[in-house]
């Protein structure tokens, strides 16, 4: 869920940009040119994910993918998601350029966390650990993002408390869907293309 322009106070926007700048610095320093096409492709997958609608009862949710893609990317999540959100802002006016710092932080910081928490389990031969890593990594990243969006909304003032709660609640079904999707996606990769997971 991207926060729109004009909502957050300037201090929050500035803090978001500051944190994202640090993430980008680390991400780019670790990113060699020979890996850049892969990061760009996963950035594109993350981009297209927001257009993939998964039916859920009478409605549908669109995928966030910050956990699924993020576990494969690690610190490169910052560059990849920043660029994807940047292009979305320019082409479709999703989010916006001033909130780009905050929106990138919301997506990429949880991605880095789940990458380091779960990458060993994701690569391990132990089936239980593997399933836990996929499910918890994907849904955990979505929920962390939701918490961050909520906290940022609260920074606008007390009257935004309900908005924050509403946004968080809206993310719970998304987290469940992502967990299921992650299970299938990583099982597929583990069976048919294990080298993708090996290079984490």
């Amino acid at each position: 869920m991207h926060i729109s322009e004009g909502v957050l106070p300037v201090t929050t926007l500035a803090l978001g940009w500051g944190a994202t700048a640090c993430g980008l610095y680390i991400g780019f320093r670790k990113l060699d040119y020979h890996r850049m096409p892969f990061v760009a492709f996963l950035s594109a997958v993350f981009f297209i994910g927001s257009f993939v609608h998964v039916p859920l009862g009478p409605t549908s949710v669109h995928l966030v993918l910050n956990g699924i893609v993020g576990m494969l990317l690690g610190w490169a999540s910052f560059p990849a998601m920043f660029v994807a959100l940047f292009i979305q802002a320019l082409l479709f006016q999703f989010g916006g350029l001033l909130v780009l710092g905050v929106n990138t932080l919301n997506m990429a910081a949880p991605a880095v966390v789940v990458h380091y928490l779960f990458r060993d389990w994701l690569r391990s031969g132990d089936g239980v650990k593997f399933v836990l890593a996929s499910v918890l990594g994907a849904s955990g990243a979505v929920l962390m993002s939701a918490v961050m969006v909520g906290l940022e909304l609260m920074s606008c003032g007390g009257e935004f408390r309900n908005a924050a709660l509403l946004v968080f609640a809206a993310h719970i079904p998304v987290a469940v869907v992502e967990a299921v999707v992650a299970f299938f996606v990583f099982s597929f990769l583990r069976k048919s293309r294990p080298e993708v997971l090996k290079e984490l």
Binding site: I3, E5, I68, L90, L91, Q93, G95, G96
Partner: protein
């Protein structure tokens, strides 16, 4: 009007940040004439403004929960900033914008990643559509069940596998054509008289607002 893309980006940030800083309707609406002025210069097609719809979906959350006056201010600010984005930046061709970022001294690796990603978004989008068509041609009908989730997930997994394979070849393609750590860019721009006029006008306009609200008082 053909403006130097660097001028467009700088002008956008000047006005957008000023709008974002504003805490009163009068300060925000001060920018409306500026928007009208650019619309007049640029002759933007009205259909471009359809893109404002998704942004306003997020605002539904705000309207549901926040006092009306506050919500309305957010609504106006959001749509004004995005309108500036549309008329000043998004009307320019995307590769030209990326080159402009390079000439505005953004880090090289960032600019290159935007280049690659922009191209690959189109490749991945096309593959996703092809996979969906193939699935539907074989009777796939999305609903809330195991087979739907499995199909969509496998399509996604296939996109990741394709990414992995194509990215290997993309690096080979760079290497084969003499890439040696410096990614070359082709377009260069020259700032003309009308660019300077436009930039000057924007500075004066924004400066006038800041003066009127005596600088930092706007924050309050």
């Amino acid at each position: 009007m053909s403006l130097d893309p660097r001028v467009r980006i700088i002008a956008f940030f000047l006005v957008a940040v000023s709008v974002a800083l504003s805490r009163s309707f009068s300060a925000v609406l001060f920018f409306l004439p500026y928007l009208v002025f650019i619309l007049f210069l640029e002759r933007v097609k009205p259909s471009h403004f359809k893109k404002l719809i998704p942004a306003n979906l997020f605002l539904v959350f705000i309207f549901l929960t926040v006092p009306l006056r506050e919500a309305l201010l957010i609504f106006v600010k959001c749509n004004l900033i995005l309108s500036f984005l549309i008329v000043l930046v998004s009307t320019e061709r995307f590769p030209v914008l990326i080159h402009a970022l390079h000439h505005l001294k953004l880090p090289d690796k960032l600019v290159h990643l935007v280049f690659f990603t922009y191209r690959y978004v189109h490749i991945i989008d096309e593959e996703y559509r092809t996979f969906m068509k193939a699935a539907k041609a074989r009777g796939f009908h999305p609903k809330t069940d195991r087979i739907t989730y499995k199909t969509l997930s496998y399509i996604l997994a296939n996109l990741i596998v394709r990414s992995y394979e194509k990215s290997k070849w993309a690096y080979k393609s760079m290497v084969c054509r003499g890439f040696h750590g410096v990614f070359p860019l082709y377009y260069h721009f020259e700032m003309g008289f009308k660019d300077l006029c436009f930039l000057g006008f924007t500075f004066v306009y924004v400066g006038a607002l800041w003066a009127r609200y005596s600088g930092l008082k706007m924050f309050m």
